[in-house]
Symmetry: C2
Subunit: 328 residues, 2 copies
């Protein structure tokens, strides 16, 4: 383990030539301006070892995920990624960690043309990653949680529940084949932020959120912010092949309450189904219609016969959760 | 100790009515736009318990300091504070900590009309505070580290070294009266970001930085970024009454290498002395001329007779420092 000085560490792993920002890493502040007619979308997320990831996670995947969860927030607003800051607490300046961490982080940043413009590095007892990300969206056009209207269709991107299935396998509560575990673990550790879909949904979707704490909980934020309710068809929820092999009870738990999927849940007027389909194709992202927005408050989940399912639809909450490494 | 849910915690302590931002706490992103003809100045700092503060620090002071060190970065760029995000890892959602922490943080935010627009809260083994702050500065007008020119005067605001003196007293390496310890501890725990001075220096100063890691080290960043050197007169360095009572060796150490002062070090053309004086008066901030910028690279410290002092002028470095709680 090589120990680097703080300034050398920043220079070696995190300094890149400045592109879009007026001024990048290395002054007291970075300078940033949205294009005319646009505003900045800003989001912050913090990942703590032992809470959001295990110490044995591959560092390149951790770098990817730390930025991915932030890009996912931009996606949920329909914003185009511009830049981010990185604050990093580490037990030691360990190059065997830092080199792959920076590689995974900057590869995803590069893919979305999202520039690292500043941050902070310090020692701390456990690895802690705090990222603030900046995106650009036409003024007034951002997708908000508060825009769902009665009669809107309800959609989700990709598939749900694989990250939770990986977590259950890590906890030993379910046994998976090596191949299946590898796939769902990758879904948990290297999620794909739905940036292109989010941008394509601007002007199409009426509201959006990303699934970080579980479909039921995150959709609940939309319903409360919009003053509406919803009915979701359990059989319509998109489920990957590995989760489809599991018990019905586990499927339901993973689909409705599993966190860390980073899919987009969004609403659109029933008259916009063609436009939603076009956005899905343009962004090469699978999208599934899973229910509808209704006037009666609350979330109802129905089976294939339309019968309402009982049971608590708990979302993950960091301070009330009993134990374990879980969703951010 | 009361345990709160994550969302209840955010709502209770950190949600304020939205003012300047288009959208504040409670959606996937906050939305922010600089005024026409302005750009955003962005800075991030992370404070970790046991590293940047002791667990026994008063929570209201900690809240103040966490934002103050970020506002100090805006001050060093001459930017007007607009907004900030707060990511917080806590061992538990302890109201006895959160209430005074939020009070200290938001009181300073209010004073500078700087709005909390988002963030994240999670559990972690030690209290960790990551703030990203946003300011506004006229396009092209930000004070940079790279602007110092040969012949410029060198200035510092306020006094230097009190925070380091408090740290030495905490470590037991120096004995202070109770009154003196209270004063310097407050300087360390509740620093004043020089926001008004920084803004008044736009168009006057040629470069600026804030003193977080010690005068010698931080000035070194300016000298390298500007491709110049400097001579500083030791006797000219502004020293508070409590530090003036200490040994010459300790004074010199605290003045040159003490971190956590959050004063501004800046340069201005010799022809701008009246303008610097006017900026100091307009911002009600004491300013002292301490030396000059020269062509020969490096930092020279001279005594009252002009004789150059020897000795290492180390600045604090988090990954190379031997031990202890120290400067951010």
């Amino acid at each position: 383990m090589a120990l680097l000085g703080e300034f050398e560490l920043i220079a070696r792993y995190f300094t890149r030539p400045v592109r879009r920002a007026a001024l990048g890493v290395g002054d007291d502040c970075a300078l940033l301006a949205p294009a005319p007619g646009h505003e900045l979308a800003v989001s912050s997320d913090m990942l703590v070892e032992g809470r959001h990831f295990v110490s044995t996670v591959a560092a390149d995947r951790l770098g990817h995920k730390a930025l991915a969860v932030n890009l996912s927030d931009l996606a949920a607003c329909g914003a185009r990624p511009l830049a981010f800051t990185l604050s990093l607490a580490l037990p030691a300046a360990d190059e065997a960690f830092l080199a792959p961490f920076a590689r995974g982080l900057l590869a995803l940043a590069e893919r979305h043309d999202c520039e690292l413009i500043g941050g902070d590095t310090t020692r701390g007892p456990v690895t802690t990653i705090a990222i603030t990300v900046f995106g650009e969206v036409a003024t007034g056009a951002a997708l908000l949680r508060s825009g769902a209207r009665v009669g809107d269709d309800l959609y989700v991107s990709g598939t749900l529940g694989d990250a939770r299935l990986a977590l259950e396998a890590l906890r030993g509560s379910v046994a998976l084949s090596g191949d299946a575990f590898g796939r769902v673990r990758r879904a948990m550790e290297e999620p794909t932020p739905r940036v292109e879909l989010g941008r394509a949904l601007v002007g199409v979707a009426s509201s959006a959120i990303d699934v970080s704490d579980g479909l039921a909980g995150d959709l609940g934020h939309v319903l409360r912010a919009s003053g509406v309710g919803a009915t979701v068809e359990l059989a319509a929820l998109p489920c990957g092949a590995d989760l489809a092999d599991q018990s019905e009870a586990l499927q339901r738990e993973c689909l409705l309450s599993g966190g860390d999927d980073y899919e987009l849940v969004f609403t659109a007027a029933a008259g916009r189904r063609d436009a939603v389909g076009a956005a899905a194709r343009a962004s090469a992202t699978p999208v599934t219609r899973i229910g509808r927005i209704e006037a009666a408050p609350g979330l109802r989940v129905v089976d294939a016969t339309g019968r309402e399912l009982g049971g608590a639809l708990a979302s993950f909450d960091h301070f009330l959760a009993a134990s374990g490494t879980a969703a951010s």
